[in-house]
Amino acid sequence: MTRYAVEVRGVHKSFGNLEVLRGIDLLIRRGEVTVILGPSGSGKSTLLRTLNHLEKVDRGLIQVGGQPVGYRLKGSKLHELREREILQQRTRVGFVFQNFNLFPHLTVLDNVIEAPISAQGRDRKEVEAQARALLDRVGVSDKIDAYPRQLSGGQQQRVAIARALALRPAVMLFDEPTSALDPELVGEVLEVIKQLAGEGTTLVIVTHEIGFAREVADTVVFMDAGLIVEQGPPGDVLDNPQHERTKAFLSKVLQ
């Protein structure tokens, strides 16, 4: 096994004529917290989505836990996996969306236990017990039988985090998890993520919360126009940026 949880090598991706990823190389160590920053349109969300094959890459190789994502590597050829195998792979990667995407017709508990039962074939009793523990951990144990629309945005996002964790993923991906929240609800979601960071889960977080990045990140990655411009410990990238574009971005955001 490699010591990297996520390996991205030479990744290119275009939407029509627009090349949104123009050769990305990124290695993420096990148990590390990586925060990806960058102006909108820089390709950071697309990069995150390629990590669990929600977007197919045009060129390059992505590996999670040492296994190519979406493909089987044979010699110099990548053989497309079948949909069922891709779905199986995704259960090892938790994904938290900007808009939560909870299932509105299912209760909080049913949202959390759905995938472990149907995708991993685990025992319902065991999954329910785990779900209750997770919901307790993210602080919504009193809303177990509520429907998502009866919850605040912050509570919904915390349920979504519990739902992703229920699969016991090796890596958790967060796509701007607080961007759709009212300012006073941002803190409670960041608190939960911080807690995960402290427990040694491998996290990759796309966010605009610079203060949060400084606090939890082991590595900050700055992207612009489909390329990684700069990466390193938050102390280096945020306080002493080397690149002009990083400086320009930070000066705008930190005003």
């Binding site: 929600l54 969306f97 995407n101 299932f103 759905e114 995938a115 995708a119």
Partner: protein, 330 residues
Amino acid sequence: MTTIRTAHAPPGVPAIDARADLHIDPEDLTVVKSRHPWRWVAAATMLVLVAMFVNGLVTNPGWDWPTFAQYFTAPAVLKALLLTIQLTVYGSVLGFALGIVLAVCRLSKNPVLQTVSWTYIWAFRSIPLIVQLLFWFNIAYLYQTLSLGIPFGPSFFEFNVNGVISGMTAAVLGLALHQAAYSAEIIRAGIISVDSGQLEAAAALGIPRRRQFFRIILPQAMRAILPNAANEVISLFKGTSIVSTMAIAELFYQVQVVYGRNGRVVPLLMVATVWYILLTTVLTIGQYYVERHYAKGAQRALPLTPWQQIQRKMTTINAARQESSFGGVR
């Protein structure tokens, strides 16, 4: 210009008393409801018209209610009603089952399935139902035998078409195939109305494909599908009367037979009409509760049932009455 100062003005700056120029305490003000005399006039006119209509139903001997009563529950009529219900159930169930398949095909990434589904819907929406029914009824002119076997190769079983496709089968087949084309579009509309983030979340969680559809997408699509689907079932229920042209003894055919014999056209048409109304009412009530079931989670609280609404209304009226009787004392 006046300067507006808030109550939280800094110390030393006097706050403005917002009630200084008001003679009464604003919290003591009461609301006098506005009167709507024209509403009363309109309501009275309507009630007179309704009364005239009901009076006509009762007093006009042309309605011939005794004959109506005699045939309303006659065994022949009930048997025909049962057949009408059967045609509706088979037509709806088979129609919607095929409709789901067609809708999924149209939304699939496979261009052949897409095209076949599109063509089916195009064809069956283009052909009038009655023409299609007559085709099925006369299918034996085109194909004398049906055989089961290898395409373009040898066959294992052979059926005589006339033996397999009776009038009833032709009717069910025609209704179901016609219904499928419309159902497919209704189901497709429902599916594409579900937020694409739902499918993405289901895929990100690794939920198996079939489960994604039946557990995540379809229950949410049902909210958009149901009102239209209920429309279709109701319209099919009445539409079954079209198979009377093929001499199938459903409700409408049966009353025609009776009034052909005894000449009492109006009361017998009323027999059919009242049955159609009664069963449509049952379907409508059913629709309400099924829709309510699928509304779970869509609103913060489930809508009240009509009965609960009446109870709540009564409570508010009683409360208002008590308040007004106390009003004099106050």
